[in-house]
């Protein structure tokens, strides 16, 4: 039997097909398919081969998961340079090389301080004014070779914005011994480049010949051009100049040597001009980069091209870096890979996944800022410590003299380390498909940072900073002032913000290219480089209002005072300590979030005299919207007040005596209980001269100036009450409800009796006034849901979901759990609630408020941003949070995927898959965001496809607008993102403004000062939940939903926009059961029926009598 088994797969299939033939059922079908069938059989029933088994095992052990491997394969395939392109380029390159090598020798000697060379070449030499005046004599010596270098040469390039690096080695006789100082080397290099440029311009197979420089290295230009024709669409070519390694002795450029004289830089012709100044490691490195290029390239060639896995890993790392926009070049990546191979951290039989993972882990733990690494073996070179004295980050090359990371700022390095840590975390998180956030999602500055600092007029800032910088560092950086400014400001900000920030990353955007016939300074005019700083805030410390310094009697206090200036003052704290302290403004939560801005503004002013108006900071822009106008408090304060009152009430309820059943639990369900209500209920003063019935106020039926006078809108905070278990509830829905009402009545009476709280019982709920806020309690019992689901069919009792039962289940079972989870989320991430408020306001301002875009869905969408923040971390400021939510809204594939929220981090991978399958988005009514609390099969209100499409379109437009105003236009007022367009709607119903609740909360309404009452009313329940606009909308929607959709801004919108259904103007069939809204239209002897649009509009006016001001038809 066992022996046969091996054969079975094939023989059995044959047997089966024979049986089928004998049956005669599919004989005709099977006959002609015989030949292909065998092939199929083979593939389906074949024994696994060794290769296949190996691959399977490999996937298990070497890659994260099967999916990860598949995706890695896909992406590598995608970014690979196409063979066709390679062939074409090879052809082009041969041609180019022949042309270049035919460059004529020139024996003439040119004085580079004059224009003779430029005139002869008929183009400009790519140097700036500062270097122009330096005297040196240049003679062109022919080079011997043009080589393909960089990533294309190593075979790890990326097929997007592909740039092929060519390298020309300048013969060492071009430079004299003295050229190493005062930028003479750079000047000659530029002149050499100009010669090549002039020769190249004669070649007609290239176009777009331009000078450019990278990494803000103004003194080291390169030459960019494109091949003519189709090849130019795929790639561009860049020529780098390096020099022969024997041109200078490397130790001339040791980090502690000086090669840039102060006298030259500051133009003082005083007698000490011969004196050698402070070390210039930065300047030295710019020369060293050229000198050591060939040695390092050889070293790379030893390692990389041999192993496909290493190359793949390098490509993956490069994609990862590019998505994050980190200024780490592919060259550095390759050298890092080589370094880790050298120290045997990785080897070339590892899979690309393992290599990448290992490098991330290594970099995460690395300390290049204190313990630098070196590729150099031997001890002839300067020690690592020497490098540390002069560079923030140290990674020494093969020769032992050149610090590869000489341009890297400390901030950039910590950003790199942080990203590595995040990457490892993502890989280890089995719950998400980590591939997408790691490699596929671009991380934009607004996505990543909580706070951005930008400069409006950089050149002016540059001057003010430079004027206060030490001569020493100025000499070191030479003419590369931008890097100097970035470094100086970084140090200041890092010191000033301390533990308030987790990361400060300088972002320099200064890659520039210009045509060869223009001088650099002319091309430069008007195009400022951009410098910005991104901050990731520490959620715990960022909002501290008090900056505690050292105790007053210590010597450090003096330094503290010197650093902070007048802001520092002596304070005595409750614990008895007396310390130097800075105190920032921040009473309300919204104000406290601006402390970072306050500090930056203050320090810039204090240290460099830069006015706050010169700075542009992102992230506080929408705080104003959060502070409730007038009341002087944001949603956080309002929610907190409500929660405190609710806790007291809860305690009271639990201690009620004389109830037949005990109260076992009370859960809050209103958004206010998760800090996500933009207009939280506020305690009100006792109403003036009210009409009363029992404990409640009535609405007065009075008018003034022809308009009814309505009480101020007071929302209630809803909660559900669960009672102890009892089997005595009646088994009939109406009787059940009656008994529920009896309980309401009894609870209300007891509350009044025991705690003398004013209450109002109604059949469906109890209203209680506590601390000036009205709470609405409702008893929830699962039996009510069961009774609602019950129906009788042929005498058999069946349970079916009905609309009512679903609603009740959502409100009394699901909502309390979700609200609790969201409340917990806010405790963990304090900006959650405020982000929710902003997002809801945004949705509502574009007229997509509940029920179009249900409030709970909005809350959960924001929760998704906080729970699944990959590839970044949860946002710490609401403005950035809103940006991220909008990104999620536009980028997520809502039609195909669902978001599974894991609130307590306790779902397993299997649970998540199960939930994903249960709630596939194709099934109607399935929520798009689910959590473990969702009972399977329960429909939750969700935005329908059209609303979602509109919301996404609006979000995309808003994002474009926000990015434009914040990143390019430096506009502080981005409130226009909350202004809806009313074009495109068919009918606009204008309402009387004074009757619209929350009309003072509108974005466009002027702030109004209104203080909270000192003693909130405590005797009578005000008129609650009396919202005429919602009443009106309810009626409109219930009566006219088959003809039109109604849109409205919940937060003070005074317009209701109406959109007819697309078929409103078509002929309809007249039926007894379907005659609504039709009017007869006689045409050609017969009567046709159409919707009576005029009458409908008239109806809108009738139903809204007293509220509607005007109706306009577009």
């Amino acid at each position: 039997m066992v022996k046969r088994n091996i054969k079975t797969p094939i023989s059995e299939d044959v047997g089966v097909s024979k049986i089928l033939n004998e049956n005669g059922k599919r004989a005709a079908d099977d006959e002609p398919k015989d030949a292909p069938k065998r092939v199929r059989t083979k593939s389906l029933y074949r024994q696994p081969t060794v290769n296949e088994l190996n691959r399977l095992q490999e996937t298990e052990s070497l890659f994260n998961s099967n999916l990860f491997r598949l995706q890695v394969d896909e992406i590598i395939q995608e970014v690979k340079v196409k063979e066709k392109t390679e062939k074409k380029f090879q052809q082009f390159f041969t041609e180019l090389k022949t042309h270049l090598l035919a460059i004529p020798d020139d024996d003439t000697e040119y004085d580079l301080s004059t224009n003779t060379l430029a005139k002869k070449l008929k183009l400009k030499i790519p140097v700036n004014e500062q270097l122009m005046t330096t005297k040196c004599v240049f003679q062109f010596h022919k080079f011997s070779d043009v080589e393909i270098k960089g990533s294309y040469g190593l075979g790890c390039s990326i097929n997007s914005k592909l740039r092929v690096d060519l390298q020309i080695t300048v013969p060492s006789e071009t430079y004299t011994k003295n050229d190493s100082i005062n930028y003479k080397y750079h000047k000659k290099r530029a002149a050499y480049l100009a010669c090549i440029a002039s020769h190249l311009s004669k070649l007609d197979t290239i176009e777009d010949l331009q000078y450019s420089y990278v990494n803000s290295c103004e003194t080291k230009p390169v030459l960019d051009f494109k091949p003519v024709g189709k090849l130019g669409n795929h790639l561009s070519v860049r020529i780098h100049l390096v020099c022969e390694s024997d041109a200078y002795k490397l130790n001339r450029f040791s980090p502690d040597r000086n090669n840039l004289r102060e006298a030259w830089l500051f133009k003082d012709d005083s007698e000490n001009s011969t004196e050698i100044g402070p070390p210039t490691p930065y300047y030295n490195s710019s020369v060293l980069a050229d000198l050591t290029a060939s040695t390092n390239q050889e070293f790379l060639n030893e390692f990389l091209p041999k192993s496909d896995n290493l190359k793949q890993a390098a490509v993956l790392l490069k994609i990862w870096l590019r998505q994050r926009n980190l200024p780490v070049s592919g060259y550095v990546v390759c050298l890092l890979v080589a370094y880790y191979v050298q120290i045997k951290r990785i080897n070339n039989i590892m899979s690309s996944y393992q290599i990448v993972r290992n490098i991330w882990i290594a970099l995460k733990a690395s300390e290049l800022d204190t313990k630098g690494i070196s590729l150099h073996k031997g001890d002839s070179a300067p020690s690592i410590d020497d490098f540390h004295k002069h560079f923030p980050v140290v990674f020494v090359d093969k020769t032992g003299y050149y610090n590869i990371l000489w341009q890297m700022n400390r901030g950039t390095y910590s950003a790199l380390k942080r990203e590595c840590a995040l990457a490892v975390e993502m890989l280890d998180n089995g719950k998400i498909n980590s591939f997408l956030p790691l490699f596929m999602t671009p991380v934009r500055p607004l996505m990543k940072f909580d706070h951005l600092l930008r400069f409006k007029n950089l050149s002016q800032i540059k001057e003010s900073v430079l004027s206060k910088t030490s001569r020493e560092s100025k000499v070191n950086y030479g003419v590369e002032q931008l890097s100097l400014v970035a470094d100086v400001l970084y140090t200041l900000l890092a010191k000033g913000l301390g533990n308030r920030v987790d990361l400060i990353q300088p972002i320099i955007e200064d890659d520039f290219s210009w045509p060869i016939k223009k001088t650099l300074d002319k091309a430069r005019a008007g195009v400022d480089p951009k410098l910005s700083f991104g901050f990731i805030l520490n959620p715990e410390n960022a909002m501290n209002v008090v900056e505690k310094g050292p105790p007053a009697n210590l010597p450090e206090a003096e330094q503290f005072r010197a650093f902070w200036g007048d802001k520092s003052e002596l304070r005595r704290f409750q614990d008895g300590s007396i310390t130097e302290t800075c105190v920032w403004e921040g009473e309300a939560q919204a104000e406290r979030r601006t402390v970072t801005k306050q500090i930056v503004d203050y320090l810039m002013k204090l240290k460099y005299g830069i006015a706050p108006s010169q700075l542009f900071q992102v992230s506080w822009q929408l705080e104003g919207l959060l502070a409730r106008r007038g009341a002087g408090a944001g949603p956080e304060e309002g929610s907190l007040r409500a929660l405190q009152a609710f806790d007291l009430l809860r305690r009271d309820l639990r201690q009620l005596t004389q109830l037949p059943l005990d109260i076992s639990a009370v859960y809050g369900v209103s958004p206010i209980f998760s800090y996500s209500c933009p207009v939280p209920a506020l305690p009100r003063a006792a109403p003036h001269n009210p009409w009363k019935r029992g404990n409640s106020c009535l609405v007065k039926d009075i008018t003034r100036d022809g308009l009814p006078v309505l009480p101020e809108y007071t929302p209630v905070c809803k909660a559900v009450v669960e009672l102890g278990h009892s089997g005595k509830w009646p088994g009939e829905i109406h009787a059940f409800r009656c008994l529920k009402a009896a309980f309401h009545l009894q609870i209300a009476e007891s509350l009044t009796k025991q705690y003398s709280l004013p209450t109002q019982a109604s059949p469906t709920h109890i209203d209680v006034l506590k601390n000036g806020l009205v709470f609405r309690l409702e008893i929830a019992h699962p039996k009510e849901i069961t009774l609602l689901r019950r129906e009788k069919e042929n005498g058999v009792v069946k349970y079916r979901e009905s609309e009512e039962s679903e609603r009740l289940q959502n409100e009394t079972v699901l909502l309390p759990k979700l609200r609790g989870a969201l409340h917990g989320l806010h405790q963990k991430h304090p900006s959650f609630g405020a982000t929710c408020c902003l997002f809801k306001r945004w949705l509502s301002s574009h007229l997509l408020s509940d029920p179009h875009f249900p409030c709970l869905v909005a809350d959960l969408m924001v929760a998704a941003v906080f729970l699944q923040p990959q590839p970044s971390q949860p946002p710490a400021s609401p403005t950035v949070g809103l940006y991220r939510v909008l990104r999620l809204l536009t980028d997520f594939d809502w039609a195909r995927d669902v978001i599974v929220l894991d609130f307590n981090d306790d779902l397993t991978r299997e649970d998540i898959t199960k939930l994903e399958q249960q709630f596939s988005p194709e099934s109607p009514g399935s929520p798009r965001i689910v959590s473990a609390y969702d009972p399977p099969g329960l429909a939750r209100p969700r935005p329908d496809a059209r609303v979602l499409a509109r919301a996404r379109a609006l979000a995309a437009a808003t994002l474009r607008y926000v990015e434009g105003s914040l990143l390019t236009e430096y506009r502080d007022n981005i409130l226009p993102m909350f202004v809806p367009s009313l074009a495109g709607y068919d009918v606009l119903i204008h309402l009387h403004r004074p009757l619209v609740p929350h009309c003072l909360e509108r974005v466009d309404s002027p702030p109004r000062l209104q203080k909270l009452p000192e003693t909130p009313g405590h005797e009578v329940i005000p008129v609650v939940e009396f919202h005429p606009v919602l009443k009106y909308l309810e009626e409109l929607r219930s009566a006219y939903s088959e003809f039109a959709l109604f849109f409205h801004d919940l937060y003070g919108g005074e317009v209701i926009a109406v959109l007819w259904t697309p078929d409103i103007k078509e002929d309809r069939e007249f039926q007894l059961t379907n005659a609504t809204g039709l009017k007869p239209i006689p045409s050609k002897g017969e009567t046709k029926y159409r919707v009576n649009v005029q009458a409908l509009i008239e109806d809108f006016r009738i139903l809204g009598q007293g509220l509607v001001k005007d109706i306009t038809v577009n």
């Binding site: 009787a735 009545l745 005498g795």
Partner: protein, 263 residues
């Protein structure tokens, strides 16, 4: 003959709220004629109207048909239905849905119905004595009505429960009566009788059906003949193959949607 013609065609008339309404709705009316008339919609006197606008109330409709004669009753309903309306004893009043409705109007005399069918014009809903309540006024009234004094609520609850108790007692007695042997010797099995029975719910039914099926399965021989074994193996393989194909499709779908273009 005349009557049949009426059935087929609805008569269209405009129904205005006030005299000077500019764009009124058109309502459609005809005589209510069915095979079996119920008590509340008597033959010959009942008028069926459809497309009554949301704001119209009973009094308003009586106003509108004042020219025809005395209206005995107006029955507003969501959909025209011939069955008699049974009132369910409910504690919470049915939610008042604002929407288009149908109505049955019963006139006092047959002649009035005929007159109504011949009307060329209706009076407006609003008259001097009665104004239809809409808009803010309506909402204010609704709100104020919803505020109940505790004593009122208590009374409501008590009366409802008393009626409910009486009703359920009656039902119980009725069931008990059914327990008794009837003339032919039949006994009806009820929930609370001496004869044990099972609850007639879906759950219980499903349970019984499952049990039956299980029994059936037990009797059947499944792994007995060689061809059965072979077929079951084949089925297994086919299932696996199908799953494999599905997986492949899924990956293809991912490929299509994500396209793996990082930039």
């Amino acid at each position: 003959m005349k009557a049949t013609k009426r059935i087929q065609e609805f008569k269209a008339l405009e129904l205005k709220l006030t005299k000077d309404s500019l764009a009124p709705h058109t309502i459609y009316l005809k005589e209510h004629v069915v095979r079996e008339h119920t008590k509340d919609k008597p033959q010959g006197r009942t008028l069926l109207i459809v497309n009554i606008p949301p704001y119209a109330d009973e009094k308003g409709i009586i106003n509108a048909f004042k020219d025809a004669g005395h209206v005995q009753s107006v029955q507003l309903c969501l959909k025209p239905s011939t069955a008699e309306v049974k009132t369910v004893h409910r504690f919470l009043p049915e939610a008042n849905i604002t929407t288009f409705r149908a109505a049955y109007i019963v006139f006092k005399k047959v002649a009035e119905l005929d007159k109504a069918l011949k009307l060329q014009e209706l009076r407006p809903l609003n008259s001097d004595e009665h104004k239809v309540k809409v808009g803010i006024n309506k909402w204010i009234q609704e709100y104020n009505d919803s505020i109940l004094l505790p004593t009122t609520l208590k009374k409501n609850i008590e009366t409802f429960m008393a009626k409910f108790d009486a009703d359920s007692q009656k039902a119980e007695e009725k069931e008990k009566e059914l327990e008794q042997e009837d003339d032919e010797g039949w006994v009806t099995v009820t929930k609370k009788g001496k004869v044990q029975s099972f609850a007639r719910t879906e759950k219980v039914e499903n349970k019984i059906m499952k049990k039956e099926e299980k029994n059936k399965k037990r009797k059947e021989l499944k792994n007995f003949y060689t061809f059965q074994i072979r077929e079951s193996k084949m089925k297994n393989i086919v299932a696996l193959r199908q799953k494999f194909e599905e997986d492949k499709k899924k990956i293809a779908q991912i490929k299509q949607s994500r396209r793996f273009k990082p930039f």
